[in-house]
Symmetry: C2
Subunit: 377 residues, 2 copies
């Protein structure tokens, strides 16, 4: 999935927008304003609307688009409002703009669709979508044109979807640098329950256990637990809405987790019971295999090998390193620079295609670099 | 906490060691070899021992110390072997070196102490300790002198501990740049159950749920779930030992978590039951408060600012970027290269000292680089 694709020279050149006409964005928060910034940068006319005058002013002042006017005739409307009002706003926009295609970016897709069906809304012009993008901070002020780049953008087609409308929403995703992914609302909601909603709850539940703990205990916390609980810092209001709107799939995963958790707790309670040791080992081993299935960074990309090079981080050293990798015609697919206080050197972890490892290692060593290790992860 | 400062000239300058005499290290894995590197750098005579000849050779070749000799008369012995053999090795070392102070670095403190008491070992010269440090990769080859810097190092004193011996073990921690923290073995084990052992299990259990999921679902995974499950990549063997050795405190936390998890699942099952909404909101809110109690800013370093530069990843591009940063006399404190499928470019997130931001941004823009953003996180 998340393979580091070679990035082409086209990148720098201004791209031509796929979306044509005015795009109306309802809700100028993080997602709405970020979409506005990206589309405006492509020269698209962006009309912003928001129930909060201050939020709207911020978004306009920061360049996400112009204020919407009653005379606007948008080709596409993006509804980027909180989940609990998404269906209302979609229904209203469909009625107000009888020729526009309406999409939304809510993180749950089945409930708004059900609500709209129940109200007998004309769904031929509605296509639910969900860009898997965000930041820890919300609001127009945190908006960034690049938050969608390289991220999946789920587009929910159903029997009522016209190919032209689908193409328009996918064009929006592509204009923002995202990768359109077609899914049914049901599959989408099950997927985000597993990879987003339950991880949020688990991080929150774990962090919640810190409340009763003495400071001295928490003083022993390291990067591991900080990563595990990082998203526990998310805003309650939004999450209560999201979890409520996707309760069924979330509960299914929670129940399965509760059973696994109970089993490993029992195994630790009865270390001598037959299979106890095995249960604990399997829990960790299944976790190893599961995390390997995640795309991207920590799901470490199996397509590349890592060459770890020692560098002292005086200015120019990295320049020399990557310059020489360039001379060796070694393309750096991904990299991490690691160093800590007191370290005598930094470690540059460079991901390269397997076929380039030998060339990189030998070439760098000839040029006097110390290779700390070469791994397969 | 673990902050990534630039490797300063000061770091290179030799510090005076607090520990005097020969330090014998039994177990030349990640922790043992890292301690060896740090002490050797301080000019201390380090005698390494390991049951694995190849591990020992690696550690010696990489400069962690010299091979131990039968004639060694160590002042301090550091036992850095797997948990399941820690007590045996401590007992043996106490007997073999009747004048040495013996400490260990095992991540569980009560069980080895109980085992040694049960065997009637002379505990007046033993002081259990636990440096809260590590890396994802293990073994002598992953060893680094700086992994203890700024980390807590728990030292377990009990009625049998002599002040002089305690001072020696704390001197070791201080020589390695760690912060000694005195705790009872019981308090230590409860603390690591909460901030280390249970988070490991929870990350493993969550990642284990990915095994049955379709690729398309996992394709929607973002940074949040990757962080939440990152430590699920840890090695099973070691964790089965650690969890087994600290079962009681771990089970206590697991049971409390299971109850919380059951409550929030029921609340989502019965959204209209009185207090359901409240239960979900409280779960997220308690998580907010809990995560705030963790030391360190979720690993983020407040001392640096981030400049995000767009790069196409053709060979030499990063070389050009870092070469020009060198020309601008901008030192890269840390960096991350981000790019994903379909991306039109990669994003190089470069951490620099605040005073260098303007110089970096202006200088790079003059040279034709596109700055995606400049943030404070």
């Amino acid at each position: 999935m998340s393979q580091s694709t070679g990035v082409s020279a086209r990148a720098a050149a201004p791209r031509r927008a796929r979306v044509q006409g005015t795009v109306r964005i309802v809700g100028a928060g993080l997602l709405g304003a970020s979409i506005g910034h990206a589309l405006s940068a492509l020269g698209i006319d962006v009309a912003l609307d928001d129930t909060s005058p201050s939020q709207l002013r911020l978004a306009v002042d920061y360049g996400a688009g112009r204020r919407a006017a009653d005379t606007d005739e948008p080709a596409l409307i993006v509804v980027a409002v909180p989940p609990d009002v998404t269906a209302d706003v979609i229904e209203r926009e469909l009625a107000r703009h009888p020729s526009a295609v309406v999409t939304d970016v809510a993180s749950v897709k089945l409930e708004p669709l059900r609500a709209l069906r129940a109200r007998g809304a004309d769904l031929t012009r509605y296509i639910g979508s969900h860009p898997l993008a965000g930041r820890e901070r919300g609001g127009a002020i945190a908006a960034r044109a690049d938050i969608f780049v390289g991220r999946p953008w789920v587009v929910c087609r159903d029997e009522e979807t016209s190919p032209a409308d689908l193409a328009l929403v996918e064009a929006l995703a592509l204009d923002l640098g995202a990768t359109p992914v077609e899914m049914s609302p049901e599959d989408h909601d099950r997927a985000v329950a597993l990879v987003s909603h339950v991880p949020q709850l688990i991080a929150s539940l774990l962090a919640g256990r810190f409340l009763g703990a003495p400071d001295a205990s928490l003083g022993l916390a390291g990067q591991g637990v900080r990563d595990t609980t990082r998203i526990a810092a998310s805003a309650p209001e939004l999450w209560v809405q999201i979890l409520g709107a996707n309760a069924e799939p979330v509960v299914d995963v929670l129940d399965a987790l509760a059973a696994d958790l109970g089993a490993v707790a029992d195994a630790l309670r009865e270390p001598d019971a037959s299979g106890s040791r095995r249960t604990v080992a399997d829990t960790i081993r299944r976790g190893n295999e599961g995390v390997e299935r995640l795309p991207g960074k920590h799901g470490q990309n199996r397509r590349f090998e890592t060459v770890v090079v020692m560098v002292d981080d005086t200015p120019g050293q990295l320049g020399r390193l990557f310059g020489e990798l360039g001379e060796l015609d070694v393309n750096v697919e991904d990299l991490r620079l690691e160093h800590s206080p007191g370290a005598q050197f930094g470690l540059a972890e460079i991901s390269v295609v397997p076929s380039a490892v030998t060339r990189a290692v030998e070439g760098l060593e000839e040029r006097g670099w110390k290779i700390a290790s070469t791994t397969n992860d």
